[in-house]
């Protein structure tokens, strides 16, 4: 028997800021610009405050189910910061950070989770998809959007995001597989927050990494410290540039920890180990970035206080706008079903309007 190795692979892990905010020697240029880093810190903080507010709205009956991003803020804020307006985001339900960075407003996000389709009628990011609720379908949408972009010879990238549990779905493989074959400009982010609702990552795969799932599709796979915004942004920037310039797709596994429940409808204390969670809190993304800023004399308690005040105002204004938004009227159930409502359905529309008026 003759045995030769016909294929082999390695997965790189990227980290620039450790949990204490200590930078690696080769930290990228953008991370040396303290204005940029202050902005990113503020964006992550704002997402955290927004999440808390959304939770409070749900708990007081003013909004429906909501999935927070606590502990995972560096992922969406990181890739969102690397995106341009021309790029397209295909989000899932935990992509709040990416959506906010790409121009979707807090009011729209609240409206969405408040049960109104108006929240998906984005005023700014007009080509971005509404969040994908069924697991992993968005992976294929991203490849479809990228195919259209490729056919039209445009220099735009597509970003999509999925939880690590979602990578068990067939659509995940089908989507990255075709992206590999057609060399599509997609960046597939895996938010590996260790939990698919209550199911831990070791029940989800026998792979050492989720990034290596890319290898089976002939796609580059990279693992990154998902709590290190410098690493997330740097790797995202690399993959986005590659995508825009015909270099093809990249799968990026961002390792983090879900410090919150799956959604407001979940109670993670039923399955999460408090000791593990306590450890995870030491790794969360905001504290290490603040330490890094402080080491560079770019942040003070005064800055922190000023930011808190500003962000609270901003979020409160969004909540007020959400609460003041007009209630949807019954005809909206029908008016965007087709370009033109079928004859057979018109009497139902009229009946719903009449009932609604009572």
């Amino acid at each position: 028997m003759t045995t030769t190795t016909v294929a082999s692979f390695e997965i790189e892990y990227h980290q620039y800021l450790d949990a204490n905010g200590k930078p690696a020697k080769d930290i990228p240029e953008f991370a040396k610009d303290m204005n940029t880093m202050r902005e990113l810190y503020r964006d992550m903080y704002k997402l955290r405050v927004f999440d808390a507010k959304a939770y409070a709205l749900q708990r007081t009956g003013k909004m429906g189910t909501y999935p927070a991003s606590l502990g995972q803020e560096a992922i969406g804020i990181g890739y969102g910061d690397a995106m341009t307006k021309e790029d397209v985001l295909i989000p899932y339900y935990r992509s709040t950070g990416g959506l906010l960075k790409h121009g979707v407003t807090m009011e729209e996000i609240l409206l969405y989770w408040g049960g109104d389709e108006a929240g998906s009628n984005y005023s700014v990011a007009k080509e971005d998809f509404p969040i994908c609720v069924p697991i992993a379908n968005q992976i294929i949408h991203a490849s479809g959007v990228a195919k259209a972009i490729q056919m039209r010879k445009q220099k735009r990238a597509v970003v999509t995001e999925i939880g690590e549990g979602g990578t068990s779905e067939g659509d995940f493989y089908e989507g990255i597989n075709v992206a590999g074959i057609w060399n599509l400009g997609v960046v597939f982010f895996i938010n590996n927050n260790q939990w698919a609702i209550s199911v831990p990552t070791d029940i989800q795969t026998a792979c050492e990494t989720y990034a290596q799932k890319a290898i089976a599709a002939g796609v580059e796979g990279i693992q990154v410290d998902g709590n290190d915004i410098v690493a997330v942004r740097e790797v995202a920037n690399y993959a986005l540039e590659k995508a825009r310039n015909g270099g093809g797709p990249t799968v990026i596994e961002a390792i983090t920890y879900r410090l919150c429940d799956h959604t407001t409808a979940d109670d993670a204390s039923r399955y999460d180990d408090p000791k593990v969670k306590e450890e995870a809190w030491k790794n969360e993304p905001l504290v290490r970035l603040r330490k890094y800023l402080e080491k560079n004399k770019a942040w003070s308690d005064k800055d922190e206080e000023a930011m808190k005040e500003e962000v609270a105002k901003e979020v409160d204004a969004a909540v007020k706008a959400y609460e003041a938004a007009p209630k949807p009227t019954p005809e909206l159930m029908f008016d965007h079903l087709y370009a033109e409502l079928p004859e057979l359905t018109k009497p139902q529309r009229e009946a719903a309007i009449k009932r609604g008026a009572k």
């Binding site: 389709e117 379908n137 959007v145 056919m151 089908e174 597989n177 079903l337 057979l344």
Partner: protein, 326 residues
């Protein structure tokens, strides 16, 4: 003008739109060099190039999901499912996204696309190749379901489906892909969707069918005429949303209705048509509504498929029963 078959008409309509609209793109399994397993896309890759007539990897959910992404960018994908029996992995994408994106974004993202699939029995095919599951798709708001019964209708309806701003499931009755030829002028003229076609006028009973069963239905109508029963024959063509006005008008005239379909009887398109007639036209009826359907059982493997599918005789028996009510 040339005499062409139903499948050639499908091909001609797709070619016409590929020629005239740069946003049209066609893809699926084996649609390229091979021209599709039935040859529906024969010659199209050669003429319009590999960039626009694309062989995909073998994954139906991916085919439908790509159509969702491309349509969202304003392209007009025509995606082929090789057989309707293999459409089920794609149902997730079709139901959850293609059918809903316009609605859930308040019109911001639209889904102009055609999902084509050969369907129905009668060609001695392997298992899973012969079912008629149009009712599954008809049930979903946001989709249109179109089934041509002959070559000229296939040409005109396919053009309309491609140009329609919403997702259309285009089911091709493969048993009649090649049984008749029509003179079809390749002039880009579409037929309306959401419209029934009256293929035979009559005053005694309305026979309502679509797809391949139109052929048995029209044959039955000729035999009935020899018995002195003049049947009006309606080709539903768009089985969702249905043009009930045409059907109700006919039933008002004839006072009798019989629905003929290949699909299982229960929970079917035929059930819906019968219910609509009962709701809106019951006072015009002289007799109970009749239905000639496939049986409520699994589509059998091909040795029994002829026993399963409605025949001219079954239609005649049902009509004669209906005609007994005076």
């Amino acid at each position: 003008m040339a005499a062409i078959t139903l499948i050639e008409a499908v091909n001609a309509a797709m070619a016409y739109e590929l020629e005239h609209d740069q946003d049209v793109v066609l893809f699926g399994e084996d649609v390229g060099k091979n021209g599709g397993v039935f040859r529906a896309t024969d010659g199209l890759q050669k003429k319009y190039g590999k960039e626009r007539v694309i062989d995909t990897p073998l994954a139906e959910s991916m085919i439908a999901g790509l159509a969702v992404g491309m349509a969202a960018q304003g392209m007009k994908p025509i995606a082929e499912m090789q057989f309707m029996g293999f459409i089920f992995p794609a149902v997730d994408q079709i139901f959850c996204h293609a059918a809903r994106l316009r609605h859930r974004t308040r019109g911001r993202i639209t889904q102009p696309m055609v999902i084509r699939a050969p369907y129905g029995g009668g060609i001695h095919a392997p298992e899973h190749h012969s079912e008629s599951t149009e009712a599954l798709f008809s049930h979903i708001p946001g989709l249109k379901v179109v089934i041509p019964s002959n070559p000229s209708r296939a040409y005109g309806l396919m053009l309309a489906a491609i140009r329609d701003p919403d997702p259309v499931i285009f089911l091709e009755p493969k048993r009649v892909y090649r049984i008749v030829k029509h003179e079809v002028e390749d002039n880009g003229e579409e037929y309306p969707l959401e419209a029934c076609f009256v293929d035979r006028e009559g005053s005694d009973i309305t026979l309502i069918s679509w797809g391949a069963m139109m052929h048995e239905t029209l044959q039955a109508a000729e035999k009935l005429a020899a018995e002195g029963i003049e049947a009006e024959v309606i080709d539903v063509a768009t089985v969702s949303p249905i043009d009930m006005d045409t059907i109700l008008e006919s039933v008002e005239k004839t006072g009798r209705a019989c629905i003929i379909q290949e699909a299982p009887k229960s929970g079917s398109v035929g059930s819906e048509i019968a219910a609509e007639i009962a709701e809106k036209g019951v006072l015009n009826l002289l007799a109970p509504i009749g239905r000639v359907s496939g049986y409520d059982t699994v589509m059998p493997y091909y040795r029994l498929e002829k026993q399963y599918m409605p025949t001219v005789d079954r239609i005649l028996d049902e009509v004669r029963t209906i005609m007994e009510y005076k």
